[in-house]
Subunit: 310 residues, 2 copies
Amino acid sequence: MLPVLVVHGGAGHIPEERAERSTAGVCSAARAGYAVFQRGGSSMDAVVEAVTQLENNPSFNAGCGSVLNVKGEVEMDAIVMEGKTLASGAVCAVRNIANPVQLARLIMDKTSHACLTAEGANHFARLMGVPEVTQESLITEYSRMRWKKNLTPDANPVECQMGKMGTVGAVAVDSEGNVACATSTGGILNKMEGRVGDTPCIGCGGYADNQSGAVSTTGHGEAIMKVTLARHILFHMEQGQSAEAASDLGLAYMKSRVGGLGGVVTVDPQGNWAARFSSKQMSWAAVQKDTLHYGLYTGEHVTKSIAEPQ
Amino acid sequence: MLPVLVVHGGAGHIPEERAERSTAGVCSAARAGYAVFQRGGSSMDAVVEAVTQLENNPSFNAGCGSVLNVKGEVEMDAIVMEGKTLASGAVCAVRNIANPVQLARLIMDKTSHACLTAEGANHFARLMGVPEVTQESLITEYSRMRWKKNLTPDANPVECQMGKMGTVGAVAVDSEGNVACATSTGGILNKMEGRVGDTPCIGCGGYADNQSGAVSTTGHGEAIMKVTLARHILFHMEQGQSAEAASDLGLAYMKSRVGGLGGVVTVDPQGNWAARFSSKQMSWAAVQKDTLHYGLYTGEHVTKSIAEPQ
């Protein structure tokens, strides 16, 4: 059953013309993350590689392709967590960084802190030799178009955000049974300057514990925060629920309690995994043994050999 | 049993010469918060008032009196949460604001977001007409002395932080059974610029849910984050544990799992409450009916009528 890696490319409603590249992106990221295991990497190495691929892919709302805040700027959030030590690293509202997930990992590995924000995160990046990139290099024509559209008086950013695509993330368990998660996002469309969502918040955007499993979440951040969704799902797993059942219980609770929709990828230390969502769609992919799994619509689950060409 | 309000002034080791003013400060804040009930205020009104008093008191590490970051500056974190709606508001790494807890509440009340950070939080404060204050007005001689001492090569900021005093916070339940929490901090001594600790992170620095109760935490932030301490305690209460037993279980788990010490104040919707800590000391006070309760050392629990002079 081990190792396994599961990625998501965001919950919501993916427009038909973007569905194919979204599916291709998560499949490619899952393959890249899984290849890390084959080179002897850990679950943390694997989730960071998968999320880096998704950040670099302009089709997703993370890294290049992030949505813009109300001022037309990119401010990004990311988190990583490892289940063996419960150590985590996060950045919030960071600018001019190509791969926030890698900066989050550096915070975990190289500081005594768990989260750095805004200019402080950039200062640390410079200390670590992480290059700064221009705002322009992170902004796509598509995200600029959506930003402008949402500046009109009748726009509804929350609805529009859920109507498109969200956060990216990954969970994994390696052959030693160590679980890890990583999540990265540009946040919510036309958000206020300095808005911090669920993604960098431990227990909300992700959580990992070798005693239960790992979760990465996507959806409306403020709803996910209200129910600390990732931690909530793992409490169900601690009480004996499967990864799939616990994910469904967590998502159902978020829907009934605060009316929020979203999606999750979940794994347990034995290699059982789930990709579940209450939104209309969520692009996801998983690799386990020699098989690639992926889907986009509720109930859709395609499998093929990873030996097959992409 | 209702209403009740419980405050803490931080877990750690309070030097003997500062013990008296620490106890006086939490007692005064508890009285002020409780008086809000007598004027018809809600549990949210009460916890914000109590924490405002502690922020304004230079004896505590929040607002005026905050510890300094490595650059000698004050950057503050705060959160509020109400149990009826699970709504919350938070600020992280905010500067030049006298009462971060009030700004956190404005974010909850006036925006669709749950957290604003750094300059974005200050921008919102200006929109709301919240006055900016100088860095100097938030810095005490004591905090500057500690900052300088910790710049020496052999200093250990984590140890020194735990050796002094921490975060402030409050929980309350009003006569309608609505619970709320508020927590505010200057963070950890000589922290990196932009460091975000547990306080503004929902489920870590605080959590409130009318179906179980409310918790505000203090201690070593990175340890509290690893175990999402506030949410962890409320999961125990959901499973039938009392406020006191759940608090002890949460603190014991944090100690055994990640070696972290800290303290909490906890309340349930019926008005049962607890002030518990695994650190050497925690200054705390509670008011329920006509009685003021307070303590500082393990096992210390003084009661007196609130009619008695302060």
